[in-house]
């Protein structure tokens, strides 16, 4: 069986071996690998092949897809593979970024070359060892099923060859297999980690248990930016099992033997807060402010042709305001981290998307040099961007408490802490205008965007904010693929104390809804079928057209549906991939929307595991549908009004549509798959609602009360 273990049991290079990596944690003597050709591969004498994976597994399947990249070249036996999380080290940094990071739908794209070459180099060294043993030419040998096989038929296992292979020279150049000639790439492979996950033995951050470890919860500011002025811990401290109540920079930490005692005591804590100006914050006031800003010119993100002229000479103009709310990531595993300070070291156990940041923040908080901070990566119970926090907030809290009490401590956030404390996808307000000429051609497009920057004020702003424009504020809006002669897109970047962060698909979760919905409005205004209208504006955009046509044909666009149902289509290019979705919906008399079926077409170039892609599309659609149908964080008197899944509902089994995924066969460079499934679903659903009811949804989430008066089947829209 495949073992998924944290890196403390990582086998290190053998005693005589100099190549490879100096691991902070080497396993017991008997577990040492005989062959360690590079930072990613260990082969033991018992034929166990260990892959050291530099990306965090959060459900996107990297503990299967990245091993497939290595195995394709190495020719190992799939059943002998163990996967371990890499420690923090430069050799495990993102190949595009100077840090350890799992995000931006980049894992397969950014590791394809590095891991393929790692596998190929190891294979060549094993072949060299076998050739030397047999005194034959290396070209007469090949690798397969964990053995090196000579053309004569004789073979040696990887384990048998490992000690000798360790002495072979690392080849300077290796050639990769021709696409389609290996055993893995492009084929469905079951997840390596599924057995441990269904067994309940997979270890997440929240499952860390250390000798002498305590558990802490932290009473945190009721409004953003509030400061503790006083606290009374007498009652809380008297709860059995409570070990300490201490003030830390994040709030008041209640430390106990277990979570239940800590949480029980926390409820008895009396804290007085200076709420500062945060108490005046409200989303309704913010909406007014944003709406006013939308009437004024902002910082220009794209200006092409003569937008002013196009509108001045228009036969007709269309204008609409759109709005999307703050959203919580709501990962299933509540945020948590465990820290232990000992012997001049700081150990951190955490499910993180950004371990170098965890390391650096833990170092700054504990005063221990970053070289002495060891971050151990566990499974992530969902990430969606939240676990790549710019301030490493969950790790920071564990470091704060560990420092304060000088004992190993696990800090667990309650669901309420997560929901009320942020970070969030920003709240956005948009004003869109289109001009049509006398022949109903789209001649001009104006789009003003208002909202917070997620990169402002953090180091990555140097790369992500250009000329006053946070790229992620306008992505998908300033660079949409539609051929419109005159375009103006501008941005107002607002500031307020609500903490915002990347949320699965980042800017596209907002811009695809707005652009694809408004384009649909224009299509209807021009009297054209939304599919035909899009196709006309996508001339020459073969990959966009490819997914639009594939989704439309598989969905039966234009064919009759049962009464009371309609279809909507939307398209988005994001993270190097192209996705179109057709949603089939109905609306009941109470205004409740039911999504029956979603047909999804994706072009992500060359790909590793088609079932992973299907799973990520299914997951992206559920994530986007949760937001479209239910998701909304609102603030009143400085307080977040939602607290848990009862007030922040997400999609459940009884609302799940039938989803089918079609993958375009392509030889293009690989694109991402973790995020691109999210953006098109909200506009596809809302476009279907318009087609059915004639009611345009311009503000998410979809509110049944807005659709209540629109009985099914009486729509003014054309039914595709």
């Amino acid at each position: 069986m495949t073992g998924l273990e944290e890196n403390s049991s990582l086998p290190g290079p053998g005693p005589d071996l100099i190549i490879g990596t100096d691991f902070p944690h080497t396993g017991p003597e008997g577990d040492r690998a005989a062959f360690a050709p590079n930072a990613f591969i260990r082969i033991a004498a018992d034929n166990t092949v260990t892959f050291i994976i530099p990306k965090s597994e959060m459900g996107q399947g990297v503990y299967t897809s990245l091993p497939m990249l290595i195995a394709e070249e190495l020719g190992c036996d799939w059943n002998s593979i163990r996967v371990v999380a890499s420690p923090v080290g430069k050799e495990y940094y993102h190949t595009w970024r100077p840090m350890m990071n799992t995000g931006g739908s980049t894992s397969v794209r950014s590791e394809w070359e590095r891991l393929s070459f790692a596998g190929a180099a190891a294979r060549e060294m094993l072949i060299a060892a076998a050739a030397k043993t047999w005194k034959v030419a290396p070209s007469t040998c090949h690798a397969g099923e964990g053995r090196i096989i000579h053309i004569s038929g004789k073979s040696l296992s990887f384990g048998e060859l490992a000690p000798l292979a360790a002495g072979m020279e690392i080849p300077e150049t290796v050639s990769l297999k021709r696409p389609g000639t290996g055993n893995f790439l492009g084929k469905t492979v079951l997840s390596l980690d599924a057995p441990t996950k269904v067994s309940g033995t997979a270890r997440y951050g929240i499952d860390v248990r250390l000798p002498g470890m305590l558990t802490a919860v932290i009473e945190r500011p009721p409004v953003f930016g509030a400061k503790v002025t006083a606290f009374d811990a007498e009652k809380a401290g008297s709860v059995p099992g409570v070990r300490a109540v201490v003030q830390v920079p994040s709030g008041i930490a209640v430390v106990a033997d277990g979570f239940a005692q800590a949480q029980k005591a926390r409820k008895l804590l009396k804290v007085t807060w200076d709420e500062g100006t945060g108490k005046d914050l409200s989303t309704s006031l913010m909406r007014e402010e944003y709406r006013n800003l939308a009437s004024r010119p902002g910082t220009v993100a794209r200006n092409e042709g003569d937008p002013g002229g196009a509108f001045a000479s228009a036969e007709r103009t269309i204008e609409a305001d759109y709005e999307v709310p703050y959203l919580a990531h709501a990962c299933m595993e509540p945020l948590n981290a465990t820290a232990a300070i000992h012997d001049g070291l700081c150990d951190v156990w955490v499910g993180s998307q950004s371990q170098t940041r965890d390391r650096d923040f833990a170092a700054a908080i504990t005063g221990i040099p970053s070289g002495k901070v060891r971050v151990h990566t566990l499974f992530l119970g969902g990430g969606f961007g939240r676990r790549a926090n710019p301030a490493a907030d969950f790790t920071s809290m564990a470091a704060e408490v560990a420092r304060a009490i000088s004992q190993p401590v696990r800090v667990i956030w309650t669901r309420e802490d997560d929901m009320k404390g942020g970070y969030y996808r920003p709240f956005w307000y948009d004003r869109l205008r289109a001009s049509l000429d006398g022949k109903n051609r789209l001649t001009g497009w104006r789009h003003t965007i208002v909202g917070q920057s997620i990169f402002a004020g953090i180091p990555a702003a140097a790369v992500m904010v250009k000329d006053g424009i946070d790229i992620t504020s306008v992505e998908g809006a300033s660079d949409h693929p539609y051929d419109i002669p005159n375009i103006l897109v501008d941005l107002h970047t607002t500031t307020n104390p609500v903490p915002v962060q990347w949320w699965r698909s980042v800017g596209h979760s907002h811009t695809a809804f707005v652009v694809e919905s408004f384009l649909d409005e224009v299509a209807h205004a021009a009297g054209k079928d939304p599919l035909v209208f899009r196709r006309e504006l996508l001339k020459g955009m073969t990959r966009h057209l490819g997914v639009v046509d594939l989704a439309a044909s598989k969905a039966g666009w234009g064919t009759p549906l049962p009464p009371g149902r309609s279809r909507g289509i939307a398209l988005a290019e994001s993270f190097g991939s192209f996705v179109a979705q057709v949603a089939e919906v109905s609306v009941d008399p109470a205004g409740k929307v039911r999504v029956h079926r979603v047909v999804c077409a994706i072009d992500c170039g060359r790909y590793v595991n088609p079932d992973t892609i299907a799973a990520q599309m299914e997951g992206g659609i559920v994530f986007g549908l949760s937001a479209a149908l239910h998701g909304e964080i609102t603030i009143k008197d400085g307080r977040v009004e939602q607290s848990n899944f009862n007030t922040y509902p997400v999609l459940r089994m009884n609302e799940m549509p039938e989803v089918e995924v079609h993958i375009v066969q392509s030889t293009e460079a690989p694109g991402g798959v973790g995020e691109p499934g999210v953006p098109p679903i909200a506009p596809a659903v809302c476009n279907a609602i318009f087609s059915l009811t004639g009611k345009r949804i311009r503000r998410l989430p979809i509110r049944p009360e807005e659709l209540k008066q629109a009985p099914a089947g009486t729509g003014q829209g054309k039914r595709p």
Partner: protein
Amino acid sequence: MITLQVNNQEYEVDVEPDTPLLWVLRDTLGLQGTKYGCGIGQCGACTVLIDGEAVKSCVRPVSLVAGKAITTIEGIPLDHPVKQAWITGNVPQCGYCQPGQVMAAVGLLQKIPRPGDEDIDKAMAGNICRCGTYQRIRRAIHAASAMKEGEKR
């Protein structure tokens, strides 16, 4: 001292009677397959079987389950049709909710051996999956149900 029957094993636990069963399982007994997700019985990550019934252990005081037969994810063998259907159906993504999903499915199939889609909607709507594996869960339940029927023949 409270006596608990977990996975056919007897445990004496020295905890406050109002402690939620979830945290006794996780923190006291070290059975960490059962997960914390919401603490208010809304998400189902903490689902266990009590006398065969799927129950949310985060809102069940330990004193109320003394002496009852408690089954956790660790008590379901890996070759159980539900676990096998989950693996061959490639169901888990992040996997965090899956122990609860598996327990809810086991509870459903004990009551209704051949559930229809509406039975599945009803029995599984209390278990949230943020990764969006619902379609695969539905198929896996049908597959496990077919496997169980096969065993009987």
